[in-house]
Each structure stands twice: as C-alpha cells, then as structure tokens.
C-alpha cells in the first residue's frame, strides 16, 4: 500500500478498484481500525458498514481519490465525512433509535401515540468529536500509559515527538501503541453504545 506519486490528479474508478484489490490483510485491518473508531456511538453503523459505504462512494464515482495521497488517509477522510453526516441525520431525523415514542401524550382526546422528535440524553446521542474522544479515554481508562498516549495524539503529537514528550523510550512507546491497537481490534462499538 505504497502507491503515492505526488500528483494532483485523481484516480479513476478502475484505478481505485485495482488499488484496493492490492490491499494486504494488514491493510484491511488498518482500515477497519479506523472505521471502528469513527463508529463509536454512531447509531446503526458497524465498522464494516462504514468501510463498505466509503468504498461504494469511491467506486460509484461519488468521491474523489486524489492521486498521491496515502490510501489510508483517503479512506479515513471519506469515513470521517460519512460518519459525520450520519450523526447529523441521526440527530435531526425523528425516526431513529433515540426518538421518544410517548403513548401518554394524547392529541384531541385520541389515543394515538405521539412521536416526539426530541432526543434523549444517552451516550449514543450528540456524538461530537469531544464526546468521541471521551469515549476513547473511557475505553482505555484502566491503562494509564494508553491514556497518556491518546492525549499526546489528541495534542497532534506522534512518533518520535510524542515519545520524547511523554519521556518514554521507543520500546515503551511501541508497546503502548500495540496495546492500543489490540484494544481497538477487540472493540465492539454496538456493545459499548448500550
């Protein structure tokens, strides 16, 4: 997965399909880790759904695939956009998992149930970036090093810079990073949303 050329042009749909066809097992695993994080608190979406929707948009020609960008960066941007739009739709749509169906609210003396489009306060509501990050912190709260690592990344530090800032050596940094990867791998977003 090292196809980068620095050109400003876009890949064609056929080129995108061919590129995705060369993904290794580890490449697909990387893409799924990213999908897993964007699905945190996203009602009705599983990581595979999000990744597949991103792939569909590229292959349908609905999204550009800039030549020269790393494939994971391109996929991340697409999944971010799709997840963000899905969250907005979930918030404004009266027909979603967080709608209040109130049979006690009567209209004109009738017995019809009234659909109230207010959203309830649950962890899956109002999932802003801050709340998503809070969910990440919560999920790794039992491991102090992972918390520190996530904080460093949220502060736009990574690699050697993060390592230095945290006062760790490479061995400790890599070990923490691998543990975070393991947590993400085991993360079940639907179970956590309940």
């Amino acid at each position: 997965m090292s196809v980068t050329t620095g050109s400003k042009a876009d890949l064609t749909v056929q080129e995108i399909a061919a590129l995705l066809g060369t993904f290794s097992g580890a490449d697909w695993a990387r893409a799924k880790r990213i999908a897993t994080l964007y699905c945190q608190g996203l009602d009705g979406w599983m990581p595979d759904d999000l990744l597949q929707e991103a792939l569909t948009k590229f292959l349908a020609g609905d999204r550009r695939w800039p030549l020269g960008e790393h494939p994971l960066v391109v996929l991340k941007t697409a999944m971010h956009s799709i997840a963000s739009n899905a969250r907005k739709r979930n918030r404004i749509s009266p027909i979603d998992g967080s709608v209040v169906l109130d049979p006690s609210a009567e209209s004109d003396g009738g017995m019809a149930a009234v659909v109230d489009s207010r959203t309830t306060i649950t962890p899956e509501d109002q999932v802003s970036g801050r709340q998503q990050l809070a969910a990440v912190y919560e999920a790794i709260a039992s491991d102090e090093d992972l918390e520190l690592l996530a904080m460093a990344w949220a502060d736009d530090l990574r690699g050697n810079e993060a390592e230095r800032e945290l006062g760790w050596n490479k061995q400790k940094y890599d070990a923490a990073r691998n543990r975070l990867n393991r947590r993400l791998k085991a993360w079940d977003p639907e179970r956590r949303a309940k």
Binding site: V13, A17, L20, G21, F23, S24, G25, A26, D27, W28, A29, R30, A31, K32, R33, I34, L37, Y38, D48, L51, Q52, E53, L55, T56, K57, F58, L59, A60, G61, D62, H70, L72, V73, K76, H80, G129, R130, Q132, L133, V136, A150, A152, W153, A154, D155, D156, L157, R158, G159, A162, D174, R177, N178, N181, R182, K185
Partner: protein, 133 residues
C-alpha cells in the same frame, strides 16, 4: 507542524492513521490471520462494487428520465393546436406564402406543428417566399 486549531479528536484520528501506517503488518495484525483479513476485505470490496454499480445505474436512469422530460417539454408546442391551425389557415390566405392545397383537417397535429414551426422560422428569418410544404 502542530495545528492547534484542529479539534483534538481529528488530531487523534490523524495520529492513529499515521501510526497505523508506521506499524509493521505483524504489529497491526497482532496474531490475526492475514489471509482471513484479506478475504474479509475483498468481500467488502466486492459488495461495494455491486452497490456502486447499482447506484450508477440508478443515477443513469434518473438522468435519462430527466433528459427525456426536458426533451419532451421542448418538443411540446408552446401554443395550443387551435392556435397552430388558426395560424396556418391565416398563412394559407397570405399571398406571401405558398402552402400545399390540402385541407387543414386532413393533416395530423404533428404535421400541423411542423408546418407552423417552418412558417415561424421563415417569418423570423424575414423570408416570405419560401415553400412551407
């Protein structure tokens, strides 16, 4: 370069992507079967290809319907057929035009409309001696 304006979660996700790229395949897989991961990914890709094809087809159908609607609308007379026939009758009595000696009642709406457009075109071109039939 540190971008302090970016939301922390966006920074976090960018770092996650960079770190995933930096990690070795073995580290990312963490004991998972590479071939199984690849097969699952290719299955997603195959499903996405099928859905993309369906979406492109649906979009093409919508486009074709829209084009046909526009075409049909453009093909519709901008005046009523009564007005078309009245205009042709009037033109047939105008010495500047030469129209075939056929009863207007014998020609179809389509033909009447074609003659009407020809007459209008001649009129707008300033020519008056053309044969409209």
């Amino acid at each position: 370069m540190i971008d302090k304006l970016k939301p922390p979660f966006d920074n976090f996700m960018d770092a996650v992507v960079d770190e995933l790229i930096a990690m070795t395949d073995e580290e990312v897989l963490d004991g998972a079967d590479s071939e199984a991961e690849k097969a699952a990914g290719l299955e997603l890709l195959a499903a996405a290809k099928m859905r993309a094809g369906q979406r492109r087809l649906a979009a093409a159908k919508v486009g074709a319907a829209s084009f046909k609607k526009q075409y049909d609308a453009a093909d519709q007379p901008e005046v009523s057929m009564d007005e078309v026939r009245r205009y042709i009758t009037q033109a047939s009595n105008d010495s500047r035009y030469t129209l075939a000696a056929r009863s207007l009642s014998q020609i179809s709406d389509e033909e009447a409309l074609r003659i009407y457009r020809q007459l209008k075109a001649v009129e707008s071109d300033g020519g008056v001696s053309g044969d409209a039939e």
